[in-house]
Subunit: 407 residues, 2 copies
Amino acid sequence: MTDRPAHPNRDTPMENAFSDRITDVPKSFIREILKVTIDSSIISFAGGLPNRLFFPVKALQKAANDVFEEAGAEILQYTNSEGYLGLRQFIAERYRQQEGLEIPVDDILITTGSQQGLDLLGKTFINEGDDLVIEEPGYLGAIQAFSLYRPRFHPVAVREGGMDTTALARVLRERQPKLLYTVTNFQNPSGISYTDENRGAVAHLIRGTSCLLIQDDPYGDLRFSGTRKISFKHLLPKNTVLLGSFSKTVAPALRLGWLVAPPLIMDKLVIAKQASDLHTDYLAQRILHRYLADNDLDAHIATIIRQYGKQKEAMCAAIREYFPAGVQATNPEGGMFLWVTLPAGMSSMALFEAAIKKKVAFVPGTPFYVDRKDSNTLRLNFSCSDEATIVEGIRRLAEAMNEGGVR
Amino acid sequence: MTDRPAHPNRDTPMENAFSDRITDVPKSFIREILKVTIDSSIISFAGGLPNRLFFPVKALQKAANDVFEEAGAEILQYTNSEGYLGLRQFIAERYRQQEGLEIPVDDILITTGSQQGLDLLGKTFINEGDDLVIEEPGYLGAIQAFSLYRPRFHPVAVREGGMDTTALARVLRERQPKLLYTVTNFQNPSGISYTDENRGAVAHLIRGTSCLLIQDDPYGDLRFSGTRKISFKHLLPKNTVLLGSFSKTVAPALRLGWLVAPPLIMDKLVIAKQASDLHTDYLAQRILHRYLADNDLDAHIATIIRQYGKQKEAMCAAIREYFPAGVQATNPEGGMFLWVTLPAGMSSMALFEAAIKKKVAFVPGTPFYVDRKDSNTLRLNFSCSDEATIVEGIRRLAEAMNEGGVR
């Protein structure tokens, strides 16, 4: 290390002292947009929240009461970094029943939301300048989390049916990336799912390389139509890390997610976990576990997807009715979002300004691209508005498109 | 970047793919030790846990019930990264009443335990190779958290009364470190507190430099004797970041801590927080806030310290009675730990082996030194054993010392 010059600004020492990494992380554009939508006359398709109507308030209250009553002080003490065994057993059993996957409990780490899973993977794998493949458009939270570890991002397009395997093959050949990050079911932001064929093709390209595939699946249980697709864990058992979450099926506030990785990786992840927050809230783990033991999660999920499915249908029908012919939209089989593509050359940022005047909001595509370019794409959320509101919002948005010259 | 060679081990790609940082982090030595102490015939002074007898189980159960009843679904939804306003107001008010500090609520960030505060500071400030001053012996969790960001550690000794200011002055002059990490009250592991004079001398050295002082204070409320000392926030208002925790006063399982920093730093910390776990468990924040609103925290703390104080007295008295004359121990005014120094040249690792045979456990000093050297020091916890057990444990430990040739 060379000697440093005296600090130029001694009154506010911190100003020049920030790490390089923190200056790299994009500030959440969505936060800024959500500020605009506080105005209650605005119909907002901008949010990314599950619908609070379906939070199991009474059942979680009962679960909390029961664990306090039965376990007492134990649920308030420090615990192990790996997470509550009972909760990890529930997750393992669910993988077995739903996907035919045999996941040893020791391969499951409880995380403080699946967002923390991304941070732990960044800590464990990414050296500055490491090559990382990310979907384009891609999940904003993953871009943020990984950015802190300063990888070189290689965006690969996703479109109907999954990832562009030609582009993926080129990146794998040219860069030998360390990580490939995917949201394979009802992706945020696009609503796109990978077909079984696409998964097979991606797996074929990855197999035999040193690339680790991260399959992040927060929405997989929220399927309205179609059939469950094969997990990358079946296709690439040694090269796959799974991320999961209870945020979209039970409740997000508790910040409970999980990560599945083989022992060699898990050893390192547990060290990273311990350094990050020692362990995830144990009271929350015990409440959730009790809720899951005493309630039928699948019946609860069925209630959610019945309503989300209706809302998605209403949005797609209104899009067909009102949007100009040159505008395309995805028609997801599940999840909370769909993705709109304006004719080439149109700006979704410009449309956003016009839409706010019409009292309707959405998220322009910009934050979902690593280079944060202006684009002709935008994200619409359908989980938080009822069907009549959705129809009215889409009508307003179509008006803004028409007046903005979208054809 | 240069091209990489083909990967040598294609079957287990992860083995060679870990980040440099994760291989730097010391595995928790204490975890390994705690495994030994599962044997219930062993008296353990090795743990670092608050005593579960004092967890307010019934009051937290009532608080949980009340917030579910009154706030319903709201407490289960995603929330802001900064944390619940009511909880931040409580913390600000407590700083005002207890320390005469005027902390704007906007300067307070709720963290997933104060351990996360360390991670967020690492993310926000540390570039690889940055100079960082840490106490010696120092808090293991801080060494772990900061290690992930690969600083150059400069240990400065703490001893009765606080930090070695001669050594600190030298490091400040020679290295112009970016950060100075301190646990100023009843430090873990040593039980040492900085006197007002020592704080003044440290502040005098820091003032006018670009060094940021982190004052981590998880134990400050657990004072049995003596008087509260001045906060570095008074002495160095612009250069000080405060960390706090509810883990030792209410309950650790909820993982609720906080961080105080000026707006310029807070902007960056919030970005780091969002990337790390979006926000801290909101249900837990609301339960704790309700508990704090409906109960007298100071009365609760008074109950804890009455007992911890008796246990500390029992340990100090037994040490005076049983330990060989050449062994020294700190006599802390609060907290959960005291620190024992064997005669020069003795090994606490060797003593540990002998002590386990006598059915008593402690933590050798090793993990509290950045270079993890064997040492003649060890940490004893007094918060989790009753007075009779403490006397018996110290008697056994003295036996191990005597048989090991300690004089």
